[in-house]
Each structure stands twice: as C-alpha cells, then as structure tokens.
C-alpha cells in the first residue's frame, strides 16, 4: 500500500471503505470524477435498494485488498459487459468496472467507512435511468436528471 497521506503538500486525500464483514477492503486516492446515482433495474437488483450510487475514480487511484469474487454482467441493451466485485464471505458489492468506460473503477459509495467526505456541494451528482426508477424514489429538486444515461 502506498502511503500518500504523509504530509506531502498536495498529496491526494485518502479514503477507505469495504464490505460488511471486513474481509474485502479498498482505498481510494483523491476525489471522484463524478457520482452517478443510477436507478436502472440492474442497479436495483444488485443492491436490493432503489438505486446504486457510483463514485467514479481512475483505476490507478483505487486499490482493492482482500479476496473478491467477480460477476460479469452483459447489459440487456448494449451487450457490453460490467464486472462486479463482491466479497466472497458476506457478498457486499464494493464496485464495478465496465467495458463502456475503460480505465475507471466505480465504487459503491455506501461502502465508504466515512460517509461525510462526499457531499452534493463539492461533488457533482447525476441521476440516471429515471425511466426505470421506483415510483417512490425521486431525486432532489434542481438536480441533473436523465431518463437514461447521460452519454446517450
């Protein structure tokens, strides 16, 4: 593990997270490039919740530690793959990579140890796939919303 928080001026901030049982941990360095709140059916299934919350980092700013299992899902629409990483012991999803956007790791933001360093003022939140959102799940007024993905 590189130690980047040793007082160097300008060293990127480090944040930690992991699964419920603690077997699978990760570190990210610096700030996420964006945070995407995705209401697609795929994210509802994998999380069990109303949406997934992906904090996107460049792959070289994210390190997984500990055993993990992957599941490769192919999008029903695009046929492109997404690889989920989850703990083999407790099953917690900690993030994914995707064929569509190489070079990034999308962290499931709910798995950060400290939820307080992310906030809607400093980090751009985008709400996507609202076309498949639960009727009771609505983004805040004034937020950036897309019926599908912001790239399409």
């Amino acid at each position: 593990m590189p130690e980047v928080n040793t007082g160097d001026a300008g060293a990127p901030e480090r944040h930690e997270g992991g699964c419920v049982c603690g077997l699978l941990r990760y570190t990210v360095h610096g700030e996420p490039t964006r945070i995407t709140v995705c209401h697609c059916t795929w994210c509802q299934r994998r999380t069990g919740s109303a949406f997934g919350v992906a904090a996107v980092f460049a792959s070289d700013r994210h390190q997984l530690r500990g055993p993990y299992r992957t599941y490769r899902h192919r999008s029903d629409e695009s046929r492109r793959w997404l690889d989920l990483a989850f703990c083999p012991n407790c099953g917690t999803n900690v993030g994914f990579t995707l064929e569509w956007v190489p070079g990034i790791f999308a962290v499931d933001a709910g798995t950060f140890d400290d939820p307080s360093w992310i906030n809607a003022d400093d980090h751009p939140f985008r709400y996507i796939y609202l076309s498949s959102a639960q009727t009771w799940s609505k983004p805040p007024d004034g937020s950036e919303c897309h019926a599908r993905h912001f790239r399409v």
Binding site: R46, T47, G48, S49, A50, L84, G91, T92, G110, P139
Partner: protein, 132 residues
C-alpha cells in the same frame, strides 16, 4: 404471489403480496450492505417466502436460524434478510420483479443517514427504529 430474483437470475423467490411493513433504513450497516444510500425493504412472515430457484446458490451471511443476510453466491445480489429470531424476512425491494402493494412507509435510522443523501418525500422519519 410476487416474483423476485437476483441480477444473474440464478436465485429466484416467490413471496406473498402480504407485507406487514416497509421502510428505508439509513443505518450504516444497511448503507454498506447495499452500497447505496439506504436499504429499501418490506417485512413478512418467513413462511410466506419460498425459493423457486437456486437454493444451492445462496450466500448466507450470519446465523441462518436467527438472523442472516441472503444473497446470490454467483452475482452477490442482496435478496432478503432473515430477522427477528428467524420468524420474519426483510425482502429487498430492489430484487422484486413484480411491484408489491406496499411502498416504503417511513425512514428509519435517519440519525446515521449519509450527508450526501436528501430525503425528498414526506414519509415519517425516525432517529432509530420507529417501534411501529
């Protein structure tokens, strides 16, 4: 009966549309377990949920007789939890394929809510359990 399933389809369950309660739980464990802002779930007697496929593909975390989280071992999807001394299950709303009659009725453990999340509905909010 409602059908629910995991992302990859290896595990499928059937559950009666007779849920007794439903909530969005913002506690730190539910946030971590879902990776999202909260867990959206609905509670029902355990006997009213049956696995229709994939009973040998379960990832059980915890003590199955008392309290445990049930996921698909192949894709990791969080399907339901066995709770309350094994007598009830909390089904995750995100894995229900068919829409249940019940909707979340309250937000619980908002005292631990992620600061980046904003509640946009008028449902009651409780610092901990609602004791409903």
């Amino acid at each position: 009966m409602l059908t629910g399933r995991c992302l990859c389809g290896a595990v499928e369950y059937r559950v009666a549309d007779e849920f007794l309660y439903s909530a969005n739980c913002h506690c730190s464990k539910c946030r971590r377990a879902t990776g999202a802002a909260f867990k959206a779930f609905a509670g029902i007697e355990r006997g009213k949920l049956h696995l229709s496929r994939g009973g040998d593909s379960l990832l059980v975390y915890g003590d199955d007789d008392d309290a445990s989280d049930i996921r698909c071992a192949r894709c990791g999807s969080f399907l339901y939890s066995v709770v309350r001394e094994g007598q009830y299950v909390h089904v995750t709303l995100g894995t229900l394929v068919d829409a249940p009659s019940i909707r979340p009725r309250e937000h619980i453990f908002v005292g631990s809510m992620a600061p980046w999340f904003t509640i946009t509905d008028d449902l009651p909010q409780y610092e901990g359990h609602s004791h409903a």
